[in-house]
């Protein structure tokens, strides 16, 4: 009976206007997008409802999503907010002195200090530059791009995930299919198996510490009939062979390589999902990084009678009491996209 509410710039929308059609999306890194409909009369254009206002979505009085108002469209009554996890996309990687850096802790702390991200760094992301030091060479550009790009580089090299929680903490996570958080009841939904974007062995060009071009590969051999692809990370500066091999493995694993991908999402109501304790979950509590076990669908990878997948994206639509769960490895996560994450280019 408790209903979701939205707070914009500290004001409860339920007090200000009638709103509906709320749709909240969390991506693999946290709060991504929220949209709602709120028909206002042509004379109602409150100043506090402007671009950049803090938007918080509450369910049962707990803040489950936060971000900033991006596109108030008064004409159509459509409002869209961008989640807190996406603030890193528009944050540069700079030191406190303003020089380009690829040292994660330095870049995160400086971005928080500049106020371009409203995060709290709740973990140690390391202080060694990932893409080479600034102003040390002329052959390659060590600029890691945006803070999101830098964190993706960090995550793939560490084989971990970075995530911004709903309360604004930047944390590290290891997502695993091993321990299911949610169970999907038999017959509720099924994942289609994708065959495109397959990758069986990756060859990676890099520059070694002496300045010579070299190749790293992962895995060590190609299966018969396998698909080999090539990529280059020379822009990331000189590195030793161990680190280049780790990056090759990171690209391979992030692309769900050696496995199949999925063609669709799960569109479910609360009655179709249970916790391992047999309880109906609160739809707004399901998050990317959780593992969902689809009972009754044979796993095409292992032959197990159920399929466990890590959730990559969740869209919650409270007015329909529905939640859409997109698995990690859904084919949109293509080999080319993975290369962009790594600042690598297809060679």
């Amino acid at each position: 009976m408790s209903t979701p509410n939205i707070r914009v710039a500290g004001r409860w929308l339920s007090r200000e206007a009638r709103f509906g059609d709320l749709e909240v999306t969390w991506g693999i890194h946290g709060a991504e997008q929220a949209t709602w409909e709120m028909p206002l009369k042509a004379t109602e254009r409150p100043a506090w409802l402007g671009r950049g206002a803090l938007v918080q979505v509450y369910d049962a009085s707990l803040c489950v999503w936060q971000g900033t108002l991006a596109q108030p469209d008064f004409d159509s009554g459509q409002f869209a907010a961008i989640g807190i996890a996406r603030q890193g996309e528009s944050a540069a990687c700079l030191t406190s002195a303003g020089a380009v850096t690829s040292a994660p802790n330095t870049a995160i702390n400086a971005a928080i200090a500049r106020g371009v991200v409203s995060w709290v760094r709740a973990a140690d992301f390391g202080s060694t530059p990932i893409a080479g030091a600034d102003a040390t060479g002329t052959t390659s550009d060590p600029d890691p791009g945006s803070l999101t790009n830098l964190l993706d580089l960090w995550a793939n090299e560490q084989d971990k995930q970075w995530r911004v929680t709903d309360d604004g903490r930047l944390i590290q996570a290891t997502d695993s299919e091993a321990a299911p958080t949610w169970l999907v009841l038999p017959g509720a939904a099924e994942l289609g198996v994708a065959d495109d974007n397959a990758l069986d062995r990756l060859f990676l060009r890099y520059v070694d510490t002496s300045g010579y071009y070299r190749t790293a590969s992962y895995p060590a051999s190609t299966p018969a009939g396998g698909i080999e692809r090539r990529a280059s990370i020379i822009s990331r500066g000189p590195m030793d062979s161990a680190r280049a091999s780790a990056i090759a493995a990171g690209i391979y694993n992030a692309a769900q390589a050696g496995r199949t991908g999925w063609t669709n999402s799960l569109d479910l109501v609360a009655e179709q999902i249970i916790t391992p304790g047999g309880k109906r979950p609160r739809p707004s509590a399901i998050r990317p990084g959780d593992t969902t076990k689809i009972l009754g669908q044979r796993d095409p990878r292992s032959g197990s009678p159920s399929t466990s997948v890590v959730i990559g994206e969740v869209t919650w639509r409270p007015s329909e009491a529905r939640v859409q769960i997109k698995p990690v490895g859904k084919v949109a996560r293509t080999y080319d996209e993975i290369l962009v994450d790594f600042k690598a280019v297809a060679a």
Binding site: S2, A17, S61, D167, E271
Partner: protein, 608 residues
């Protein structure tokens, strides 16, 4: 067919009934009694391999539509224009007036349709110009979009329970006579066909002797009760409240909490309050005769398709001068009321300090179908506890060591909960929480390894360190429990990785969000409220609002400072739980419109 009985349809101050005479040079009259539309169910069908067919869920009810054809009659062009102007003014009002329909039936009560939008169209039937020139008639079609349920013409008020005359003195509670065994009681099912064999027994919990009646229900849908009748006479001797300490076996997921009524002769009494105690709940009754020859205690359950054992265990019959939540010195108050009508409704809920100390700056108001059990009495371990009468719970402790609460599953209904806590800190703190099921003594049982857990960063940006925060949302109990195993408990733990000594805990409340909602109010402590009113949109406010009244500063909206709840009331027993930081026994009144499908009437329970 013409209607022989008197009836009327009015729209604001316009009487559309054909018999009406406005006393003016024009009239507006309906051409026929309109059809009153139907609420539209919004149904979500779910496919499942588990059963044939679809599992359908009614998510909510949509608006209904009424179409009324009217004719305006006037003496001349001026009168016709005046009538049209009156119609237009009503149709284009910012908030159109409701439609009131009194049906042509003896003792038919007036049904009020709340109009969301109204559109008006000029009717151009055959010979419309002839009608106008020869008869001075103009025709219009009014289309009303109305809220799904009709309401009574008048508000229903559930009055506040009066505060005790001397709130600062300790409560006076007396046991009327101790339960000594089975001899004093006789068990009875509501109907022989609804239950299997009814059994009674007796035993002790600690030093407390209890009497129990239990049976498996054979009826698989509807409401049933088990009764225990006391042979010895019960005397209230001037005390306002009769109390029954009892425990009812819990109910499967989805329904309201089971509850207790008493009967004297053929008159049944609903409890006026249900407050948690270590053994179960204390049910308060008032308005009964001072001396009751045969007190009947009835435990009510809503049964489903399962054949499970229902148990009613009675610990004590007592009398007291006030309603109190254990240990809270009157700062937490639980009360119940029966919501009338047959459809969900919304209410204005007021919390009033009256002549008592001020309401203070913090308040929690919960309404729902589940009793609230504050966790302080269920604390098992923590850092040292200090008694403090300024605390809502009467005591406080820090999070320097993990705080463990162990609450019997019978104190909870199977639902989604939110954990709210009143904490003292400034800045930001990360608090970890977890919940799991255990045996009554805390030992691990199957399912104890399934732990619902997480952590939340709480921020207090105000100058007042004491705030009520929402820590988590989680299903409780974390593992679905068949009610036969009702001795299990839920263990809830709050902890901090470091710096826990800077966080002080007053009270923690698990609140059922499936069956209820709540409003949390924080005001700077420099200004203390004497009265709070949570208004719902249908009652004297265009949108939901929380209005605060200060001593000497008047009233104003304080919604910005609160967590506003949607206080939706379902017909039947309503639990209201309030906690404030200063006012003892704050008086809580509820004002609402009873709502119905099509036709209002007296509630079935009104007859008794």
């Amino acid at each position: 067919m013409p209607l022989s009985q008197p009836h009327s349809l009015t729209w604001g101050d316009i009487d559309l009934s054909t018999e009406a005479d406005t006393g003016q040079s024009w009239r507006i009259e309906m051409l026929a009694v309109p059809k009153y539309g139907n609420p539209k169910p919004i149904i979500d069908a779910v496919e499942s391999l588990l059963v044939d067919g679809d599992l359908a869920v009614i998510n909510r009810w949509g608006n209904r539509e009424l179409v009324v054809d009217v004719r305006i009659c006037g003496d001349d062009g001026i009168a016709l224009a005046q009538a049209e102007a009156a119609l237009m003014a009503a149709a284009t009002a910012e908030r159109p007036d409701p439609l009131s329909w009194t049906p042509p039936a003896l003792d038919g009560a007036t049904a009020v349709f709340e109009v969301v939008t109204c559109t008006i169209e000029r009717g151009y039937g055959e010979n419309w110009d002839h009608d106008e020139s020869k008869r001075l008639h103009r025709y219009f079609t009014l289309t009303f979009e109305c809220l799904p349920w009709v309401r009574d013409a008048d508000l229903t008020t559930i009055p506040a329970i009066p505060a005790p005359t001397s709130p600062s003195t300790p409560a006076v509670y007396e046991t009327i006579s101790s339960i000594s065994g089975v001899g004093d009681w006789s068990p009875l099912p509501c109907h022989a066909a609804h239950f299997g064999t009814v059994t009674e027994d007796s035993g002790t919990l600690g030093s407390n002797t209890w009497y129990r009646v239990y049976a498996s229900n054979t009826l698989t849908a509807g409401t049933v009760f088990l009764q225990a009748e006391r042979a010895t006479s019960t005397s209230l001797a001037g005390f306002p409240y009769l109390t029954v300490d009892a425990e009812l076996s819990s109910q499967a997921a989805g329904g309201p909490a089971p509850y207790l009524r008493i009967a004297v002769g053929t008159t049944e009494y609903d409890p006026v309050a249900i407050a948690p105690i270590p053994e179960g709940f204390r049910y308060y009754f008032t308005g009964t005769p001072d001396t009751i020859a045969n007190l009947k205690v009835r435990g009510y359950w809503q049964v489903e398709a399962l054949r499970t054992t229902r148990r009613l265990r009675i610990f004590e019959i007592g009398r007291t001068d006030r309603i109190e939540v254990d240990g809270s010195s009157g700062l937490q108050v639980a009360r119940t009321a029966v919501v009338g009508g047959s459809a969900p409704t919304q209410a204005a809920i007021s919390l009033d300090a009256e002549a008592m100390p001020l309401l203070g700056s913090t308040a929690l108001i919960y309404t729902g179908r589940t009793p609230v059990a504050p966790l302080r009495p269920f604390r098992i371990s923590s850092s040292a506890v200090t008694t403090d009468t300024a605390m809502i719970s009467g005591a406080k402790h820090t999070l320097a060591a993990p705080t463990v609460y162990r609450i019997p599953v019978a104190r909870l209904v199977d639902a989604q909960y939110a954990l709210l806590a009143r904490l003292n800190f400034t800045g930001s703190k990360i608090i970890a929480w977890q919940a799991r099921i255990v045996a009554a003594d805390g030992t691990d049982i199957p399912g104890s390894d399934l732990i619902a857990s997480g952590s939340t960063q709480l921020t207090n940006a105000t100058t007042d360190p004491w705030m009520i925060h929402t820590l988590a949302t989680l299903p409780l109990p974390p593992v679905a429990i068949d009610d036969a195993a009702s001795t299990h408990a839920v263990e809830i733990t709050l902890s901090m990785a470091s710096g826990g000594s800077a966080v002080t805990v007053d009270e923690v409340w698990p609140l059922d969000s499936d069956n209820g909602d709540w409003t949390v109010i924080h005001e700077p402590s420099a200004f203390q409220l004497t009265r709070i009113e949570c208004r719902s949109p249908q009652i004297d406010a265009p949108r939901p609002a929380v209005i605060g009244t200060w001593d000497g500063y008047g009233s104003q909206d304080i919604t910005r400072l609160t967590v506003p709840g949607t206080h939706l009331l379902r017909p039947g027993l309503l639990h209201v739980f309030t906690a404030t930081d200063m006012a003892k026994y704050a008086e809580c009144a509820i004002t609402y419109y009873r709502r119905h499908g099509w036709h209002p009437g007296p509630d079935a329970t009104d007859a008794t």
